[in-house]
Symmetry: C2
Subunit: 287 residues, 2 copies
């Protein structure tokens, strides 16, 4: 699936992939900023807990978003593909100012929602300015090509990743989550080795990429976002290797971004943002 | 410690860091190539098992190198710093055509050998053409700045790595080993974040970097070598972060090299080597 066209005079909504395990207290920076983005007291957020098999996933986010000041929060789940054709649920999604996917298994979202009016409504909504966020599996699902599952480990091997079509809200990046915590660089690199056009985004837990309509990505949270830009790639051996063989990749550009740092997905320029230039502190001891 | 000067008309010996767990059978590619490099039937290899606390580490490599065709193999261990001043052992090391460090704890090598005549003899030998290899801890010890220990995980944090002075056979790179298997990208990046002048080399298990006197590195073995070149680094926040905070690093160049691929530590150019250009196979099915 490809992103819907943005109508003239309108602006695409933000995409907010989160690496999982985000802070859910009242001072939760990431979820709090998502609520503000969606309008704060005027926010109308739909939580889609379809990735999860746990009954309390939806209500939990409903409670968190409400406690963070969201005006209206609803949980809409989908257990069958037929559910995704139901007028009431589609209408409810079409009214939202923000849509949020919980964690779980991204293949549950893609197998249930893929190709249905609900997926279309979400894509159309995002093109009209609706903000779409998600954590863990809910982050993976956002892009056109998503990592369905894969192996852990730092070096890419031929079979270390399985790609599947995602929701298609963007084709500029491929996401991986729990990045530092589950050692997923290898599978993200393997994903890029197939076709290096997209930017790889590895999200640590409790860390989010807030991606605006200008395709500028800003990091929020306590961890890092690893950006892998294969735009200058010299060579990939993915077409030559088999099974467990490691893949040769020459000329990757990598940025480790932390809170406040930015990366522009169009120009592919990284910036330390609020971190640089170094501020001289008049009274702090130097060591 | 810095590398000894190479006398005029002579050539520095090769450095052969190995990522650990290398194949030790008769067809062991890496150790076999090390034996050939050291002269095959004329090879005179000294095994230094000091990193290991296990009594059979030395004899095991003695047997492997002998079975791979090395003319002479001796095990020389050091239990105290006083041992490192003993004339007989120093003379034996000075006669070798190759020196090999087993795995274990790299701090055992540095605390016992550091600053002693044995360390001097190894540095001088390498400058005169003696090849020096090592696996795991024995690989880490080779460079001027070595990773003593650190944490696992893909993103660098302020305290994810502890550096210590190594043997100083080169100052061009910093090595980490068991790279894919123990998720060590974060600590290698943290090492570079302190001072980005060196190249970071992450060695997978059963994988070696054969580094010639021309500072050209070639990969041998079944895994990958991750080369992190911070030469174009735009920004490091290592001076600003504390403890568990992630470090911001912008503009790293990364190459994933597999067997046959090369990286020149002087020019910092990577090549797919024997992997590229793609060969057209006249009879093989395309898919």
């Amino acid at each position: 699936m490809s992103p819907s066209r943005v109508p003239e005079g309108e602006e695409r909504g933000w995409l907010v992939p989160i690496g999982g395990a985000e802070e859910k207290r009242n001072d939760g920076l990431i979820l709090g900023r998502f609520v503000q983005l969606c309008g704060g007291a005027d926010a109308d957020i739909v939580v889609i807990p379809t990735a999860s098999q746990l009954a309390d996933s939806g209500p939990r986010y409903e409670q968190v978003f409400t406690s963070l000041g969201a005006g209206r929060v609803s949980v809409i789940d989908f257990d069958t593909r037929r559910d995704c054709h139901e007028r009431n649920r589609i209408d409810r999604i079409s009214q939202a100012s923000g849509i949020f996917f919980t964690g779980g298994n991204q293949l549950r979202i893609s197998t249930l929602l893929g190709g249905t009016p609900v997926a279309q409504a979400i894509r159309a909504g995002n093109a009209h300015g609706v903000h779409v966020g998600g954590t863990s599996a809910g982050a993976a699902i956002l892009s056109q090509h998503m990592i369905a599952f894969g192996e852990e480990g730092g070096s890419p091997t031929a079979n270390s990743v399985r790609l599947a079509p995602g929701l298609g809200l963007t084709n500029r990046f491929v996401i991986d989550q729990h990045f530092r915590q589950r050692d997923r660089l290898g599978r993200l690199l393997a994903a890029l080795a197939y076709n290096p056009y997209a930017v790889g985004i590895g999200l640590d837990e409790d860390t989010a990429a807030f991606i605006g309509p200008d395709d500028n990505l800003e990091v929020v949270g306590s961890g890092a976002v690893t950006v892998v830009d294969a735009g200058q790639l010299q060579f990939s051996s993915m077409d030559q290797v088999e099974d467990d063989e490691p893949v040769c990749l020459l000329g990757l550009t990598v940025h480790i971004l932390v809170a406040g740092a930015t990366f522009n997905l169009r120009t592919r320029k990284a910036s330390a943002g609020t971190l640089a230039p170094h501020k001289k502190l008049p009274s702090k001891k130097q060591h």
